[in-house]
Symmetry: C2
Subunit: 357 residues, 2 copies
């Protein structure tokens, strides 16, 4: 007799009360006599009764479930994000319904399913959201927050790193170290994150009078980044500094340069990434990178989502989280501007002498 579902009626019968009384025992703040409560709880325990969350959801009209869609997991940033998300949501009494979609975003079928579950909200990480789907969410009254992506049509909330500022800092850092020939290993070109990082990097270089940026597509994959790096570094005019759109690719770039090409990093070529994922700090890579603070991003995402769940009034907004440029060993260090803060070394752009540009 596995799976006998114990209902509140059975508990009620056993405790000699009504179903309502049982219900009240499991409703925080309901008025129930302590003595009745004891009897009910005892009966519940004996029977192994738990209120059915499904039935509860049906009445409440909200499921206390949040759908989370993640594009891909290989890049360590996403598991880290997911981990914090799960914890934060758990702490707030929400359940996390996980979907793995393609980076292009959830398919229509997937989307229909998600909406069918009447989730209270939706978090999309590393995926695009077509405006058609965004509209459907709005119509269904399901708040959405994008993480690590923005949309142009600014009517959907999102939380991103301050990618432009970060990428500019990388440019300044590299310039200050004396680099003049630059390469960029791009992520998926249509992603806002790549666009922001690439554009800002290029802009800052241009401000310094450097208009040539060798660009190769890495597509956010390690294989792609390896190939891109190889193409970059076997050119006659090979760059002496490469900025990769994220750490995941920067690691592959380092391996391509060091192991496949026999180059020394940073002596022959400086490599800088973005995100500061776990492996970036592994001594064998010691990647210089811009951090993308997972905790802060998750907090902001959850906060934004909760605000929109709670009230109709909460407006859509884009939150930009700043991150430090963490200096390690994969890029040549400028003479000045690197300071030790809290056990790690960071680069403060403002301390860069004007003359550097």
């Amino acid at each position: 007799m596995a799976g006998r579902i114990v209902t509140s009626v059975e508990v009620a019968r056993r405790a000699g009360v009504s179903r309502s009384a049982v219900s009240r025992c499991f409703t925080p703040g309901a008025s129930i006599a302590p003595e009745t409560r004891d009897r009910v709880m005892k009966a519940a325990k004996a029977l192994g009764y738990r209120p059915n969350a499904i039935a509860r959801s049906l009445i409440a009209g909200r499921s206390r479930m949040i759908a989370v869609v993640i594009g891909y997991m290989e890049n360590q940033f996403y598991p880290a994000l997911l981990d914090r998300l799960a914890r934060d949501l758990q702490d707030l009494g929400y359940r996390l319904l996980l979907f793995t979609g393609a980076p292009e975003g959830p398919s229509d079928a997937l989307f229909a399913e998600i909406l069918g579950y009447r989730v209270d909200g939706m978090i999309l990480a590393s995926t695009l959201l077509s405006s058609a789907l965004a509209d459907e969410c709005r119509a269904a009254g399901v708040p959405v927050v994008l993480v690590n992506r923005t949309t142009d049509s600014a009517d959907v909330s999102s939380v991103v790193a301050d990618n432009r500022t970060g990428a500019r800092a990388v440019a300044e850092f590299l310039l200050a170290a004396g680099h003049r020939r630059f390469g960029y290993v791009a992520g998926i070109a249509s992603s806002s994150t790549n666009q922001d990082r690439e554009t800002a990097f290029r802009e800052r270089l241009a401000e310094a009078g450097i208009d040539t940026l060798l660009r190769e597509d890495g597509g956010y994959t390690q294989q792609g980044a390896r190939d891109a790096t190889l193409r970059l570094l076997t050119r006659p005019d090979r760059p002496d500094a490469i900025f990769c759109a994220n750490d995941h690719m920067a690691i592959a770039a380092m391996d391509a340069a060091r192991v496949e090409l026999g180059l020394r990093v940073p002596d022959d070529v400086s490599i800088v990434g973005y995100d500061d994922v776990g492996p970036a700090s592994w001594p064998s890579y010691a990647l210089t990178t811009v951090e993308q603070p997972v905790e802060a991003m998750v907090s902001a995402a959850v906060e934004t989502l909760m605000a929109r769940i709670a009230g109709e009034g909460a407006p859509e907004r884009t939150v930009r989280i700043p991150g430090e440029l963490v200096v390690r060993g994969s890029a040549r260090r400028p003479v000045e501007g690197v300071t030790a803060v809290g056990g790690r070394e960071i680069w403060r752009p403002q301390s860069l002498p004007r003359s550097a540009s």
Copy 2:
């Protein structure tokens, strides 16, 4: 007017049919006239109607949700596992409810929540399951499958790698390469995975007449592994081969040896891991390791779970998935026994000359 919930009555009214007719349109295999169906579907689309999965679950008595509890995400093996799990479950029409618990297993409160959602099944990865909780699951009729852990009380299904065979292979491999002084960096001692790997490794060594195994606790964390490795390698009688309970720790061990101690790997010390996670194949590590085939493990886990969901008859079982010893550069190579298979080199224990032991 965000969030207006569109019910089947409204669709019915608009299409001029009954609620049942609407329901039948969304029930595969129900008998409905094509013409009616069209009218209903049109109305549904116009109103933005989707059947409420919650209500459906309430009737069906099953939620088509599977709870997945993962102990920690830092170790790349778990994100990889989760990713496949999400896909496989999605393909079968199940939703994945994610919980992040401590390695000691889900807390009672968490457990109550999970059960409250009337999940159809439960997958626990890298967590322990107390027999009390196992009993609750049985009582509630919720099938459970452990992944990457087993319990002694063999009344709960589990899927694990063939850890004993794998660990024996590591011992033979290292012996064949001429090693005689061994170290072991342990995971959490109480985990079945660590126990199996450690015991089998030690046993095989003993069979070769080697009774000394230097052991340090790494606790499955990189910090722990680093410290353990440092202790191991700064002893006067330091080992010339170290087996780490998993890749996650082996990577930290390599860094400790090479970067902190200036040792050469594998010239000064061989390091072998377990799992074959992504970073193991990164050229900077090129970790020799035993694979723990994620796909196969997930398939087995899902299959086992589905069997138990489908029928009462399906027995609890423990599935052991074999994995190859993948030879890369972090350990000295034996003269014989390494063969290239499908783009990688693997070690076949059976080709080890008897004399080696």
